[in-house]
């Protein structure tokens, strides 16, 4: 039972300790799609929200292996097939001389994978968000701590959720409007 126009509810908490406890209580109450917002990562929050582990390391691994394959293939193909040239009597290809560049390309690809993968998993860049229209929310990158329950959560009910947020000590509880266009 959701209101057609609201994105969800936003509550503020005074410090990291209270936000952590609020997150534990919200999870215990059965909410699963709620989110906390803080100016820095809070130790223990992932456990309080019972989030599954991050998927970033898999992207890093895949990208790193791709870099390694690219490095080896580039050096072997260009030196042995495309432009074979004997220099100083050295073989056209050997893994020993290929090692430095293979290593560097593995690191380069893995780093790109990590950074781009992290932003992609976070669905960033996202220039516009319904929360941006809540004036108090601007403090989230300074010294304020928030918990939001989106209307897409199965447990969400405007009145009941509002009462719940009040009961766990949420302050300045705001109904966040969905922004169209």
């Amino acid at each position: 039972m959701t209101e057609s126009k609201s994105w969800g509810l936003l509550a503020e908490f005074p410090n990291p300790a209270r936000l952590l406890k609020a997150a534990q209580a919200t999870h215990a109450a059965g909410y699963r799609r709620f989110e906390t917002f803080s100016p820095f990562p809070i130790h223990g929050m992932d456990e309080a929200m019972e989030l599954p582990g991050s998927k970033v390391p898999w992207i890093t691994l895949a990208a790193g292996l791709m870099g390694m394959a690219t490095g080896l293939a580039l050096q072997w193909w260009s030196g042995s097939v495309a432009y074979p040239l004997v220099i100083g009597g050295k073989p056209l290809f050997a893994w020993e001389f290929a090692l430095p560049i293979t290593f560097e390309l593995s690191i380069l690809f893995a780093s790109f994978g990590t950074v781009l993968g992290m932003f992609a998993l976070n669905k960033l860049p996202r220039p516009n968000h319904p929360l941006d229209y809540v004036p108090r929310f601007k403090k989230v990158t300074d010294d304020a701590f928030f918990l939001a329950i989106p209307a897409s959560d199965e447990q969400f009910d405007l009145e009941a959720s509002k009462a719940f947020l009040e009961s766990i000590g949420g302050e300045h509880i705001t109904v966040v409007e969905e922004q169209n266009g």
Partner: protein
Amino acid sequence: MAHNYDAETLFPPPLVDNDLSFGEVTEKICGIVEAPPNHKWLLALIPALTGLTILGGAIGWLIWEGTGIWGLNNPMGWGWAIVNFVFWVGIGHAGTLISAILFLFRQRWRTAINRFAEAMTIFAVICALIFPGIHVGRVWAAYWMLPLPNQMSMWPNFRSPLLWDVFAVSTYFTVSLMFWYVGLVPDMATLRDRAKSKIGFWIYGVLSLGWRGANRHWQNYERAYLLLAALATPLVLSVHTIVSFDFAVSLIPGWHTTIFPPYFVAGAIFSGFAMVLTLAIPARKIFGLEDFITVRHIENMTKIILVTGMMVGYAYAMEFFIAWYSGSEYESFAFVNRALGPFGWAYFIMVSCNVITPQIFWFKKMRTNMTVVFILSIFVNIGMWFERFVITMSLHRDFIPSSWDYYSPTIFDILTFIGSFGLFFTLFILFMKFLPAVAMAEVKGVLPQADPHWSGYHEEGHDD
């Protein structure tokens, strides 16, 4: 409960002085960016821009006239350009060392200086990349160093250490830049949310990608940051290793030695920390960052200088020992010539600045005296430039005595080097003004009240 901890372990000294609150951290760091430029800052910018202009002129004349305007001659095909390249790349090592290696070792004091040191790394690597780029002579063909398909169907020679160097330094630059940027995203979001002007809001808004501190985002972010640190750690060690291959893989006596990679890496850390100190000591005064970059930070860095300085000293001694022990008369000659030959004066400067003077950091009084540390850091910068000079100048007495010569820099060698400092300081001064010089989100994360289990919250009775 274990009782065998000393007071230092249980109650470590705070990482930020004066018990700042989260809001005060934001206020202090953003204040630097948001305040209108003051005359001290503008005054610092003038010499930097002058240097940058000199660099532009010197490079312009070089491209017009050719590398003949430098003091290069027949046995010495590598002159100041290579010395300056290695010097700047070396300086560029401290940033990633502080960001990555100290991060993996959980050295939380790094948070105050990492942003700053990473910026320094990036600017130093930009200065470094200029030198081999212009040394090739025909600058317009510099892209031949890259493996690009071309109408001549030619490919670069991957068996050459010089090409490994192209990959190592450009990978290092790219990864350092990404590492720096990822760290900047939450802080630029802070600047976006505080922006008063539309331009500021748009610029920081675009750069911060819509970061709004969601915990699911922080989870991926922290994991990505850890992975980047783990990737950058072997990378930073590999870069100066590969730079040393430029020398070590050749067959020149005095260069062809296996000690070069570790010796270069130790020297790079040594010179990098010296440059961090040279920049940090005036910057903390000018921008009022004493609460963040505390005397403890400076003291920790002087200890790293002391250790790496002795590693470098050990390498100098070991080179000589091996030159004698190898029984190779060419190798022995190269080293005796380094210390007692025509460039002996440079060897003397190198040893005095790198091995002898840093020994005063054994004394706590010296480690905590900002004037002494500042002067010493400049000594180390000079000493490390001369180390690369001494190594490169080994070429001056090659295999045929008839071709022996001496290297004298021309005015253009000197102007290009001075100009590179202009570029470095211009970038650094602009960075201090337009980007948060201290990683705010990270500093807030190490404040005592960032821990949900901080004792203050128990006293307030919020925690049961």
